[in-house]
């Protein structure tokens, strides 16, 4: 404990350095002061496990992967150095249950919906996800096409509790009831065992599953964001009424304005182009 004052002096110097470097960081740094769960630290939560391409190798501390990179960029704009960011893990349930949170904000592809917004707070969206249809090569050989009429005849699966499910039910309206699973691993397992033909994911996840998890996975097509009634937008989740929301929004606005958010997206989610659009 003896070196504690030295350490805080060092952090102070880092923060001062950042403040000197950019004017906006100064405003944001001051903004977040005293509003975080642990003073001088920013506690960020993500899923357990966190999946590629959102977080690479389930190690958000490395800052690799789209969400890990966004988290560090937001932290930077808010005036937190890389070593002042702490990671915790949380499930979806933990994140939306009433009561105190153990994180300042949580990012694991939480889609912003009005119902969820009643219980927790969301930041401005940091990504608009197109929904994509994942199938195996056998279905394509059997004649599945990226057209609604063709999709109706497939046996569908989805991860229960994602916003993909309403899209399946309301937009595709399959002929038989979809089967539902706990997570992506179970959905792909059901595809492997031939129990379902197709599943709906956000595009980056679908691309990852097709390329890495399934031997013969194909992303059949994507629904453009305006096709779905409410486009799926990911937001940073915070406890209801968290005063930090203003600072987080400000940081995200700044990232959008100076083009760095687009740059991060291009770096980690570049494959998203080139998938046919569903007619």
């Amino acid at each position: 404990m003896t070196n504690f004052p030295l350490k805080s002096l060092f952090f102070g110097a880092v923060v001062m350095g950042l403040v000197a470097a950019t004017g906006s960081a100064q405003a944001a740094g001051a903004c977040a002061e005293g509003k975080t769960i642990e003073a001088g630290k920013l506690t960020i939560a993500t899923g357990n496990p966190a999946y590629y391409p959102w977080v690479v190798d389930d190690k958000p501390e490395d800052g690799k992967g789209f969400e890990a990179a966004v988290a560090y960029a937001v932290a930077d704009k808010m005036g937190f150095a890389k070593d002042e960011v702490m990671w915790v893990r949380s499930s979806f349930d933990e994140a939306i249950q009433p009561g105190a949170k153990n994180f300042d904000f949580n990012l694991q592809q939480f889609s912003i919906t009005p119902e969820r917004d009643k219980v927790v707070d969301f930041s401005e969206p940091y990504y608009s996800a197109a929904m994509a249809v994942l199938v195996r090569k056998g279905s394509v050989d059997a004649g599945a096409k990226p057209e609604l009429a063709s999709l109706k005849g497939l046996k569908w699966g989805a991860v229960a509790g994602t916003t993909g499910l309403p899209v399946v039910l309301d937009l595709i309206k399959p002929n038989s009831d979809p089967l539902l699973y706990d997570d992506n691993a179970n959905v792909t397992e059901a595809m492997k065992s031939g129990q379902i033909d197709a599943a709906l994911f956000d595009l980056p996840t679908a691309l990852y599953l097709a390329a890495v998890v399934l031997d013969d996975g194909v992303v059949l097509g994507q629904f453009p964001a305006d096709r779905t009634e409410k486009p799926d937008q990911f937001g940073l989740l915070m406890a209801d009424g968290n005063p930090l929301k203003a600072c987080v929004d400000e940081a995200l606005e700044a990232l959008k304005a100076d083009g760095s958010l687009a740059k991060i997206e291009a770096e980690w989610l570049q494959e998203a182009t080139g998938v046919p659009v569903i007619k």
């Binding site: 219980v119 927790v120 509790g161 499910l165 009831d177 179970n186 031939g194 129990q195």
Partner: protein
């Protein structure tokens, strides 16, 4: 009514009064004190929202039909497989030793492995071998997994019942000229099965709830439907709906089990 009867009647009225008063006091304490907790309004909104309750109830009841269907076709299968395993373990002939070993392994393995693992392994694994539709349906293989697990428990309960029939009865049967199998069928099993009815009722109640585990491999039954609503509405009330629906079925079943047990105890004493 003599003096003693009057006294006892008075005592009874008095104890009913005390029971009623203490029940009311306890309920009042809960009803008054819990809402005084600072977070009550948020908890109420998240877990006991009347609006969400009414909105989700119809679809939840529909999903509960899936539970009932799986339960209905699993129960007779469990009874058959469980009885077969119990009989396999209760054989005495030296030539049937492999059957006893198989019965023992079956019971040990399926009682020792978590139900969820069995469901995953059989529900995803067997169809993964390349079965065509509809033979790879999760309903079929999920049922197989449940039946195997529950048969193992039921087999042990039945074997306990079989062992509880005194050996002298078997000896008496044989000395009357009945074969081993006739002794089992006409003398031992009727008594054994009757003795373990309450224990098997407990298994039925447990099965009613474990049917929900099939949702892990796809079927949308009531608990899965509740999970979907929970995520979409960011509200836990659908789970309360599921609990209410389950209670509506399990409470009468439990009471009936108690009644059976009491009757059996009375008959024995």
């Amino acid at each position: 009514m003599n003096r003693r009867e009057k006294y006892e009647a008075r005592q009874r009225r008095w104890s009913i009064l005390i029971a009623a008063a203490s029940t009311i006091a306890t309920l009042a304490a809960i009803v008054i004190l819990v809402p005084m907790a600072p977070g009550w309004s948020r908890v109420q909104q998240s877990f006991f929202s009347g609006e969400v309750f009414l909105k989700t109830l119809p679809k939840m009841l529909e999903a509960f039909l899936v539970d009932i269907a799986i339960f209905a076709w699993s129960t007779p299968l469990i009874a058959i497989v469980g009885l077969a395993a119990a009989l396999a373990r209760s054989t005495r002939s030296p030539g049937l030793f492999p059957l006893r070993v198989f019965g023992t392994i079956f019971v040990d393995v399926f009682r020792g492995v978590p139900v969820v693992l069995v469901i995953y392994l059989i529900g995803f694994g067997v169809p993964g071998l390349g079965l065509p539709r509809p033979w790879n349906s999760p309903y079929i293989w999920g049922t197989v997994a449940l039946v195997l697990t529950y048969s193992a428990y039921v087999a042990e309960i039945l074997r306990g019942g079989i062992d509880s029939v005194h050996p002298s009865q078997r000896a008496a049967g044989i000395s009357l000229g009945l074969s081993e199998s006739d002794v089992m069928r006409y003398i031992v099993l009727p008594q054994a099965v009757r003795r373990v009815v309450p224990a098997n009722m407990n298994m039925l109640i447990a099965l009613q709830k474990d049917v929900a585990l099939l949702s892990f491999i796809g079927p949308v039954e009531i608990l899965r439907q509740a999970g979907v609503y929970k995520s979409l509405l960011a509200n836990f009330t659908p789970y309360v709906v599921a609990a209410v629906v389950f209670l509506a079925v399990t409470v009468p079943a439990t009471r009936y089990t108690d009644y059976l047990m009491n009757r059996q105890n009375d008959a024995r004493s």
